[in-house]
C-alpha cells in the first residue's frame, strides 16, 4: 500500500522533472535574440570587409520589415557589420514601415532598410507622381525630410523594387491585359487581393482607384506571403506583387505583371534609415560598410536572393551569407 510519502515523492518528481528539463533547456539554448554569424576578416579580395577592433565597443541592432526581401537585406547588413567588428543583433520581421520607423525613433533598433518611394509616400505624404524616378534625387528628397527628425538615410542600392498589379497569364490573355489601363471596363468583374494596408495606400489600391479610376469587384486583404498562392488557386483575378519577385522570372509562363503606364507605383531603391546620433556614435565604418556591401545588389542579384528564400526556402541568413561570400565581402 502506497504511503502518502510516496505520493508526495511522485508529485515532486513530476515537478522536478519539469524544472530539470527547464534547466537543461535553458543551459543548452542560445540566447533568444538571434545574433549574426561572425566571419573571418581579411582575405584575398580587395573588397573584403576589414574588422576594426574599435567597433567592438558599439552595439547595433539591425531591423527589417516583414517580408523575405527585407529580411535578406537586414541579414546582409547585419552580417557585414559583424564582419566589420561591431556587436550586432538582428530584429528582423518587425512589421510594416510605420512599425519599423517607430522602432528606429524609439531606439529599439539602430536602423533598417527602407524603400525611398515608400518613405516619401508613406512617411512624408508625397503623391506617387511627385516621387522622383532618379534614385539619387529620391534619396536626397527623403534624406531632407528624415533630417528634420534627427534621422539619416544612407545612399541608395543599385536595385529598385515597386508594387505591381499581377495576374495569371491566362487571365491576361482572356481580357487582353498588358497595361493597368487595359483594366478599364474590365476591373469591375475582377477580384483584387493585396496586403491589408494596400487599401489605404496611395501606391496601392487607393492609387488604383484614385489615379487610374478603377473599381474592382472586390478587394480581399491577405498576408503578403500568399500573394501568389491566391492567383494559383484561382481565388484572385488580380494580386499585388513586387517587381523583384522571383516567381516572375522562374514561373514566367504562369504569372505576368501589368505595366504601370500612369506611374502610380513608384520604384524605390533601398536606403538604410538610421538615427543621426547612432551613426555618429558608431563611427565611419557604419555607413561605409553598409554602402560597400550593397554595391553588388543589382536587380538580378536581388531576384536570385529572393528566389533562394521564397522558392527554395533557404533562410534569409543563408542567402545573405552566400551573397556576401560570393561577392568577396566576407570569406
Amino acid at each position: 500500500m502506497r504511503t502518502d510519502k510516496t505520493r508526495w515523492r511522485a508529485l515532486l518528481a513530476a515537478l522536478a522533472a519539469m524544472a530539470l528539463a527547464l534547466g537543461i533547456v535553458a543551459c543548452g539554448s542560445d540566447s533568444s535574440s538571434t545574433s549574426s554569424e561572425s566571419s573571418e576578416e581579411g582575405g584575398s579580395s580587395a573588397s573584403a570587409i576589414k574588422s576594426n577592433p574599435e567597433n567592438g565597443k558599439v552595439s547595433l541592432t539591425i531591423g527589417s520589415k516583414n517580408f523575405p526581401e527585407q529580411e535578406i537585406l537586414g541579414e546582409i547588413y547585419a552580417q557585414a557589420l559583424t564582419a566589420a567588428g561591431y556587436k550586432v543583433k538582428s530584429a528582423l520581421n518587425l512589421g510594416s514601415e510605420t512599425v519599423a520607423l517607430k522602432a528606429v525613433k524609439t531606439g529599439q533598433i539602430s536602423g533598417y532598410p527602407e524603400y525611398a518611394s515608400t518613405a516619401l509616400t508613406s512617411f512624408f505624404g508625397l503623391e506617387p507622381e511627385e516621387v522622383p524616378s532618379d534614385a539619387n534625387e529620391a534619396w536626397e528628397k527623403a534624406n531632407q525630410e528624415f533630417e528634420k527628425e534627427g534621422l539619416q538615410a544612407f545612399e541608395p542600392t543599385p536595385f529598385a523594387s515597386a508594387n505591381a498589379v499581377g495576374t495569371t497569364t491566362a487571365t491576361a490573355k482572356k481580357y487582353g491585359l498588358k497595361t493597368i489601363s487595359d483594366l478599364e471596363g474590365v476591373s469591375e468583374k475582377l477580384s483584387l487581393y493585396g496586403s491589408p494596408e494596400c487599401r489605404q495606400r496611395i501606391d496601392c489600391l487607393a492609387g488604383l482607384e484614385k489615379l487610374y479610376g478603377l473599381k474592382f469587384k472586390s478587394f480581399t486583404p491577405v498576408d503578403i506571403g500568399l500573394r501568389y498562392t491566391v492567383l494559383e488557386k484561382g481565388q484572385a483575378d488580380l494580386s499585388i506583387l513586387f517587381t523583384t519577385d522571383p516567381q516572375l522570372s522562374a514561373e514566367k509562363d504562369k504569372f505576368v505583371i501589368l505595366e504601370d503606364d500612369k506611374e502610380v507605383f513608384p520604384a524605390g531603391n533601398v536606403i538604410f534609415v538610421t538615427k543621426k546620433a547612432v551613426a555618429e556614435e558608431a563611427g565611419p565604418d557604419y555607413e561605409k560598410t553598409i554602402l560597400q556591401v550593397q554595391e553588388g545588389l543589382d536587380l538580378k542579384v536581388v531576384q536570385e536572393l529572393d528566389a533562394r528564400v521564397e522558392l527554395e526556402k533557404e533562410t534569409p541568413k543563408q542567402a545573405a551569407t552566400a551573397y556576401l561570400e560570393s561577392a568577396g565581402y566576407i570569406e
Binding site: 512589421g95 510594416s96 514601415e97 510605420t98 512599425v99 524609439t106 509616400t121 508613406s122 505624404g125 487581393y193 491589408p196 494596408e197 487599401r199 489605404q200 495606400r201 496611395i202 487607393a206 492609387g207 480581399t220 486583404p221 491577405v222 498576408d223 500568399l226 498562392t229 491566391v230 488557386k233 481565388q235
Partner: protein, 235 residues
C-alpha cells in the same frame, strides 16, 4: 511604446468609436464605430458557423459512443489530441493548401471545436446514472429516445462545458483568421500597420469582450437547459 498604460487605453476606446487618421497615406480614415461593429459581426459570423458545424458533427457522435459505451480510448485520445493542435498551423495549412475565405476557414475552425464537444459529450453520457437508463429501457423507450430524452438532458452540464470550451477555442482562432482572408476583429491586431497602436489595443479589447460575452451567454444557456434536479450538483 512608453506612454502610460492608461493613455493607451483611452486612445483605444476613442478608436472604437470614432474614425482616426490612418498611419498610412491615402487620406483614408480607419476605425470608428461602423468598422468596429462590422468586424465584431464578422467575427461572430465565422465563430457561430464553425461552432454549429462542430456541434452537428461531434454531438451525435459523442452521444452515440457514450450511449454504447464504446470507443473510450478514441474519445479520450481525441480530447488530448484536439487540445494539442496548434491553431496557427491549422489556419496556415488551410490558407495555403485549400484556399482563403469564409468557406475554408469556418470548417477549419470547426475541426478545432470538435474535440472538446466530442469528449465532453462522451464523458457526460457515460456518467449518467445507469439506473435511469435502465428504467427508461424498462418503460419501453427506444434507444434513440433514451439518448435524446434521458441521457442528453442529464449530461447537459458536462456537454455544455464542452460546448463552451469549443467556443473559446473557436473565437480565439477566429482572431487569426485574417491571415486566411477572413476579416475578423483580429484584423485590428494583425494588421496593426494600418490601424495603428490604438487600433491594436482596440482590437484586443473588443476580442476579449466578445469572448466573455459569448461565454456568459453560453453559461446562461447552460443554466436554462439544466433541469432543476441537476442544478444542485453542478460545480
Amino acid at each position: 511604446m512608453n506612454t502610460l498604460p492608461l493613455a493607451s487605453f483611452t486612445g483605444a476606446f476613442e478608436f472604437i468609436f470614432a474614425p482616426q487618421d490612418s498611419n498610412v497615406t491615402g487620406g483614408n480614415q480607419v476605425g470608428g464605430f461602423e468598422k468596429s461593429l462590422e468586424l465584431v459581426l464578422k467575427h461572430l459570423e465565422v465563430s457561430v458557423i464553425a461552432l454549429a458545424i462542430a456541434l452537428i458533427v461531434a454531438l451525435p457522435l459523442g452521444l452515440y459512443l457514450g450511449h454504447r459505451g464504446r470507443g473510450e480510448l478514441f474519445a479520450i485520445g481525441i480530447g488530448t489530441a484536439g487540445r494539442a493542435i496548434p491553431e496557427l498551423a491549422v489556419i496556415a495549412l488551410v490558407a495555403v493548401l485549400i484556399g482563403v475565405g469564409l468557406k475554408t476557414v469556418a470548417p477549419a475552425l470547426a475541426i478545432l471545436g470538435i474535440a472538446p464537444i466530442l469528449v465532453n459529450t462522451y464523458v457526460g453520457v457515460r456518467q449518467v446514472d445507469p439506473a435511469a437508463v435502465e428504467a427508461a429501457r424498462g418503460m419501453g423507450m427506444s434507444e434513440l429516445d433514451i439518448m435524446r430524452k434521458v441521457e442528453l438532458p442529464l449530461a447537459i452540464p458536462t456537454v455544455m462545458g464542452g460546448v463552451r470550451g469549443a467556443a473559446i477555442v473557436i473565437v480565439a482562432t477566429a482572431t487569426i483568421a485574417p491571415l486566411a482572408g477572413v476579416e475578423t476583429l483580429g484584423d485590428f491586431i494583425i494588421n496593426r500597420n494600418v490601424y495603428g497602436e490604438n487600433g491594436l489595443l482596440a482590437g484586443a479589447i473588443l476580442v476579449a469582450l466578445l469572448a466573455l460575452a459569448i461565454e456568459g451567454s453560453l453559461a446562461l444557456l447552460q443554466r436554462r437547459l439544466t433541469s432543476d434536479g441537476l442544478k444542485l450538483k453542478t460545480v
